[in-house]
């Protein structure tokens, strides 16, 4: 086996191992082809192209009742991860409160203010959502039912004006960080570009999550319909 072929096979292996659960079968499909491509360089090009699968992060498809229950369990566990992320942003915002006292320009003041207000607002919205979520869990609902209800709650929230305002607050939080640095937007173009990219990414993930939740609801419904 030539070196080029070996590299192609290695890349294909990495793609299969790194693919998200929802893309694993596809990753295996694309990786398997490498062994059947006669030209080594073509095989390498194919393997390099297949790395795109790594950027497509999706959950495993829901095909059975066990999958639904499993998803319900994961959804209930996700609370702690989300809470840590928002708690971190709130703590971070306190640093900007200290910075606000020392701010020398209006740009910095606005930036710090944005970070603080956005973090407090997000914390409030997210806390209210947790309470709703805990309400779903507390009345001994089965994991399958919980999964369906929680996905529905998420979809409704993401599409609601409150959900959109949370998204907007998250962007304001990033904008505030850029403004709050000494010299504002002009201070460090790399820093500014990094956070601008963050805003684009947040928007992209937000839109993607809305579509993903609807797809998961459809999959759960299909499984539940089959059982009935």
């Amino acid at each position: 086996m030539t070196l080029v072929r070996r590299v192609a096979m290695k890349i294909a292996g990495v793609v299969v191992r790194g693919a998200s659960p929802g893309c694993r079968e596809w990753a295996e499909g694309v990786a398997r082809e490498v062994e059947f491509i006669e030209d080594d360089w073509a095989a390498l090009r194919w393997a390099i192209g297949s790395t795109r699968v790594l950027f497509d992060r999706r959950e495993a498809p829901i095909n059975s009742l066990a999958d639904v229950a499993d998803m319900g369990r994961r959804l209930s566990e996700r609370v702690s991860k989300e809470s840590s992320a928002y708690a971190f942003m709130l703590i971070w915002a306190f640093l900007y409160l200290l910075k606000l006292l020392d701010a020398r320009s209006w740009q910095q003041r606005i930036g710090c203010g944005l970070v603080i207000v956005a973090a407090i607002y997000m914390w409030g919205v997210v806390r209210a959502q947790w309470r709703k979520r805990e309400g779903l869990r507390s009345d001994n609902t089965e994991l399958t039912l919980y999964c369906r209800l929680e996905l529905e709650r998420q979809r409704d929230f993401l599409k609601s004006s409150l959900g959109r305002s949370l998204h907007f607050a998250l962007i304001l939080y990033f904008v505030g960080i850029v403004f709050a640095q000494k010299g504002g937007v002009r201070a460090n173009p790399v820093f500014t570009a990094f956070f601008a990219l963050g805003c684009v990414l947040v928007t992209f993930l937000w839109l993607r999550r809305t579509r993903q939740v609807q797809r998961q609801i459809d999959e759960v419904d299909a499984v539940l319909k089959e059982i009935r």
């Binding site: 079968e25 694309v30 059947f36 090009r45 194919w46 699968v53 797809r215």
Partner: protein, 102 residues
């Protein structure tokens, strides 16, 4: 049916229509359409998500790993005929060189 229309998707659909009921390999589709793996697989995944494409694993032969196979479903065939037909109508109807008129 909500499915993003693109030239690449139409090329893939046209390729499937070449041999409507046959199972196809990913690399063969890529070679015949000129699409790279990074472009082809997202299209195939999208088609499968919409129930237009079915997948299967080849039965393994001795010493060779099984390959992933793809085929259009009945809905997929219907959709492909519509899309490929519409795109060829558009291509025929479109004037050459942007249709510069006197």
């Amino acid at each position: 049916m909500k499915m993003r229309r693109s030239l690449q998707t139409t090329r893939v659909l046209a390729e499937f229509l070449e041999c409507e009921t046959a199972w196809r390999y990913g690399y063969d589709i890529s070679r015949n359409t000129g699409l790279r793996s990074g472009t082809l697989y997202p299209i195939l995944m999208r088609l499968a998500e919409h129930g237009l494409l079915e997948t299967s694993w080849e039965t393994a032969e001795a010493g060779r790993p099984p390959r992933h196979l793809y085929r259009l479903t009945l809905d997929g065939l219907r959709y492909a005929r519509e899309q490929v037909g519409a795109s060829s109508v558009r291509a025929v109807g479109a004037p050459a060189f942007g249709g510069v008129t006197g």
